[in-house]
């Protein structure tokens, strides 16, 4: 390229430039179309299973059971969702109503998210702003939990739950999942960036540690709290192994586990349309939370892991 440019006359160079510009514009336009195409394809592939499920949930059992997979919504949506929500389907072997399960999941997710945030705020505050013997020991004890996901301690934790008589209880469902270190670490990182002037000013004002926490630290942490809330709510809502193990009282079932149990292995003629409606209900709340709080969520994710 550069060789050609050097040898041409000014006029020819202008023409070359114009042709190059045009070619580049065309190439860029083509690239833009390709980009749109790929992204569109990606979005469609990701949305496809949801679309099929959504559509399926608006038809009646016979259509699905026969094997006609509809691609467009049908007319039974309202009755299917009502059935799923209120009764969990018809028939003598029906499962728990989705309304109840959604409530259980919501309570569990809220407890876990709120609990984790509360505990971690307090612990991070203690570890960062105080000096006391055993500080490092406390920090490491908390840090170790990162390396012990619930799956590697399921049986012994199950035994602990039985020993404490927390089986089939919300306490047993939520407390063991509350104390992992990610949130504490995040808050710790954040607290470390708070300039010392804030604390000095507070001391001059005669504020004690608790007032400092409530009046200064908390307001500053609001963005982080919001970001963490999204992540932890989803984490809590999507729990599977733990609720499976700890709860067999059907009135306490969460919707993620309940949905999987609905797909019996022949215990009953599956009411696929109601199951699909339940699946949609199961993923709606966390998806909504992500969509609504997307900005905080993305920020929180990328900063948690840094």
């Amino acid at each position: 390229m550069s060789v050609a440019l050097e040898e041409a006359t000014p006029a020819a160079r202008l023409q070359d430039d114009a042709r190059l510009a045009a070619a580049t514009r065309r190439r860029q336009q083509r690239e833009r179309w390709m980009t749109h195409l790929w992204l569109l394809l990606g979005v469609l592939i990701f949305a496809f299973p949801i679309w099929i499920t959504l559509v399926g949930s608006t038809h009646d059992t016979a259509t699905i059971g026969r094997g006609d997979v509809p691609l467009l919504p049908g007319s039974h949506g309202l009755e299917n969702y009502t059935a799923a929500f209120q009764t969990g389907g018809s028939g003598r072997y029906r499962s728990s109503p989705a309304g109840l399960m959604l409530w259980n999941s919501a309570v569990m997710a809220m407890c876990i998210a709120v609990g984790k945030i509360a505990i971690s705020l307090l612990s991070a505050y203690a570890v960062v702003f105080f000096s006391f013997p055993g500080r490092m020991l406390a920090f490491w004890t908390i840090f170790i939990t990162l390396m012990l996901p619930v799956e590697v301690r399921i049986i012994p934790t199950y035994q602990v739950i039985v020993a404490l008589d927390l089986f089939n209880s919300f306490a047993g469902l939520t407390i063991p999942l509350i104390a992992s270190a990610t949130a504490t670490l995040l808050f710790r990182q954040f607290f470390l960036t708070i300039p010392d002037e804030y604390v000095e000013a507070a001391k001059i004002d005669g504020a004690g540690p608790l007032r400092f926490f409530r009046d200064i630290l908390l307001p500053l942490s609001v963005t982080n709290i919001a970001a963490l809330f999204v992540i932890l709510f989803i984490y809590g809502w999507n729990q599977y192994l733990w609720p499976l193990l700890i709860v067999n009282d059907r009135s306490m079932e969460t919707i993620v586990v309940g949905l999987a149990k609905m797909i019996g292995s022949g215990d009953t003629q599956n009411e696929w349309n109601v199951i699909m409606a339940t699946a949609v209900l199961a993923l709606l709340p966390p998806v909504l939370v992500v969509l609504v709080m997307q900005r905080w969520f993305v920020k929180g994710l990328t900063e948690t892991e840094k």
């Binding site: 307090l122 203690a126 390396m147 799956e151 399921i154 049986i155 104390a179 993923l283 966390p286 998806v287």
Partner: protein, 293 residues
């Protein structure tokens, strides 16, 4: 990096730490200790007798062909899930990074699968691949390919991989996009001026700059595939057919909960614990530059 010490006293901080420490000790350290203790015992499920057997449980587990199958399944499963989820995410992130109209809309639409529980993702894909009611399942059978993941191990593995990877792409997408967007424009422009074609530019300039993100995501994806996918397998295949989709974590569950073989299950848990600790250590050593004590 340490804060200049501000508040003194021991009572308050300990009080603040109490909740997390209490839960950690009761629900993490105590069970982890119990697992390690149980792994060197031979116990009957009722707890009426127990015998110290040293490392015999571990020897038996490692020599058990079923465990080897599970380890192999786990390897195939995690590598496939991590590999496919990361490459698709990287590709989409590169596309989304270009300044086109509606980039934010695409971003939003590609992020939300993260919110779907692995077990729910499994159910969604089951609707598609079910041999009698699924669109793709029926199409495959109609085209002459005998599709029944309840009978064919390889098909079952394929299905769980797709379901697990589908969900993970959004997570990777977010990080890759953030990583791409943090590359200074000057570097990209310099590369453009040098005249290399876009694809070469990507592999020689952009990708190396993404390597911390890539490495971090690799670790996270592997941990996800190892542990968080329990729901996918339990909901879709139950480890079958014939152990084809039984991963190590699923085996711990079966061993402990269904077969009440506590010593073996504990030994397997300890092995997995070692693995997680190693992975986490690697993750923190090479990535967490900022964590000082």
């Amino acid at each position: 990096m340490r804060k200049k010490v501000i508040f003194r006293g021991i009572g308050l901080p300990l009080l603040l730490l109490a909740p997390q420490l209490a839960v950690t000790i009761v629900f993490f350290l105590w069970p982890a200790g119990a697992a390690i203790w149980q792994s060197v015992l031979q116990e009957d499920p009722w707890g009426l007798s127990s015998q110290f057997v040293g490392l015999r449980n571990f020897q038996e587990v490692l020599a058990d062909p079923a465990w080897r199958t599970a380890a192999w399944n786990t390897l195939i499963f995690s590598v496939s899930v991590a590999g496919s989820a990361m490459s698709v995410a990287l590709f989409l992130a590169v596309q989304a990074d270009k300044s086109i109209r509606g980039a934010n809309v695409y971003k939003t639409l590609l992020i939300w699968p993260y919110a779907v529980a692995p077990a729910v993702a499994a159910v969604l894909w089951l609707f598609l691949f079910h041999p009698s009611i699924g669109l793709i399942g029926r199409a495959l059978n109609a085209a002459g390919i005998l599709w029944d993941y309840k009978l064919n191990g390889a098909q079952a593995m394929l299905l769980v991989i797709i379901a697990a990877a589908w969900k993970q792409v959004s997570y990777n997408f977010i990080f890759f996009l953030a990583g791409l967007q943090s590359i200074p424009k000057s570097v990209l422009e310099a590369a453009a001026i040098d005249g290399a074609r876009p694809t070469r530019r990507f592999w020689t300039v952009v990708f190396p700059l993404l390597s911390p993100t890539t490495f971090f995501l690799l670790v996270v994806n592997l941990v996800y595939a190892f542990f968080d996918t329990f729901g996918v397998i339990h909901a879709l295949t139950g480890g079958g057919p014939g152990k084809a989709t039984e991963t190590l974590i699923y085996k711990v569950y079966v061993e402990g909960v269904q077969n009440t073989n506590l010593g073996s299950s504990a030994a397997q848990s300890v092995i997995l614990m070692v693995f997680v600790i190693a992975l986490t250590a690697v993750q923190f050593r090479f990535i967490e530059r900022k964590v000082h004590y």
